[in-house]
Symmetry: C2
């Protein structure tokens, strides 16, 4: 399954890059030919992606790119609140991985200056993954990364990559600074507020786009 892991990665890259649109049907034969693998191998990759929530499988109707509903968005933000805030709150005061958060903020600022909003989004995901990395738990990081990938599909679905990401760069920076100065507890409280705001904005975009 060496080759296969690479296949999963290639598919994931195309998904979060927005090349495969949310809701789009993924034909086994077409994709198998495109990636030059057999149908069986592709199906194994699909199962992994399905387990990660990036792809939806309906029996006898094949797989499509996941298209998160508003209910899914709400669910995802519940996970984010519980995981991110709890991890940040109980993180030690000077965790080595804090530099990852700072690096993600700086990367986001750089890409924002270039108006490369897709990469800003990636950097934003990197920031929140960095937050969870303060837990020192591989399992938590893995599960959380999946949830964030799903959330990116939600962003892609309503096509709001630009203005939705911009304001959060500054807020991410604030969270790091508060963590540095006032400690994990205060940072967690602030993050909770920001997550609530973020959720409202995404749901607003859904409502505007007329999506369910």
């Amino acid at each position: 399954m060496n080759h296969d892991s690479s296949l999963v990665n290639r598919l994931t890259d195309r998904l979060i890059a927005g090349e495969l649109r949310p809701g789009e049907r993924l034909s086994e034969t077409a994709l198998a030919k495109e990636f030059d693998v057999s149908r069986n191998t592709l199906r194994e990759a699909f199962r992994v992606l399905g387990e990660q929530g990036l792809v939806t499988h309906i029996p006898h109707r094949g797989v499509s790119v996941a298209s998160p509903s508003t209910a899914d968005v709400v669910d995802i933000y519940r996970v984010r609140h519980h995981v991110e805030c709890s991890v940040l709150e109980y993180a030690p005061r000077n965790h080595p991985n804090a530099v990852r958060m700072e690096a993600a903020v700086e990367a986001a600022e750089k890409f924002a200056a270039e108006e490369n909003w897709l990469e800003v989004g990636t950097a934003n995901m990197g920031f929140h993954n960095a937050v969870v990395s303060l837990s020192d738990s591989r399992r938590l990081m893995r599960s959380f990364a999946n949830v964030l990938a799903e959330l990116r599909l939600a962003f892609l679905k309503v096509e709001v990559l630009d203005f939705l990401h911009a304001p959060f760069i500054e807020r991410n920076r604030e969270v790091v600074e508060i963590y540095r100065s006032d400690g994990p507890g205060a940072a967690a409280a602030r993050l909770a507020v920001y997550l609530g705001d973020s959720e409202r904005q995404v749901l607003g975009a859904y409502a505007r786009a007329g999506q369910d």
Copy 2:
């Protein structure tokens, strides 16, 4: 994949029932014959189980039942602390699913009276899954259920099903009662203490068994 989901479930059942011992090698041809499916179908199921952490895959050496190390146990308890305590703390005061917790406690007591420790363990898993169900988040419940299944493999590994489970029945009951009387915050604090105790006991069993 209708049939396949059932295959994943059948395999999972045998895993958490302890019929397939942690570390045991799982031959593709043998299991394919036993479950009367083709090798390809079995491999797809293996991928799902691998993604869930129940099974370990090493390239060209096949899959074996996961055999959690002490590092894994520590990791799992980190997840449990963050998820369970956070969910309980922020749960509404009278969540409908609280009855699930109570039901799980009663089931555990019933099986304990029969000295059926395997089922006591299952009921214990049910209790903690019920706690997480207070989050109303499918994703959190799904990920958490996987982590708990892995933990059960850890229990099976050191063959301590009996005395390790018994004391927690009473503690689970206490958590519910505190939740009912003093509210979610107090219950979460108590649960945190109990999780710490539980982790120490499991790690102690690992040390006694001479496992890594």
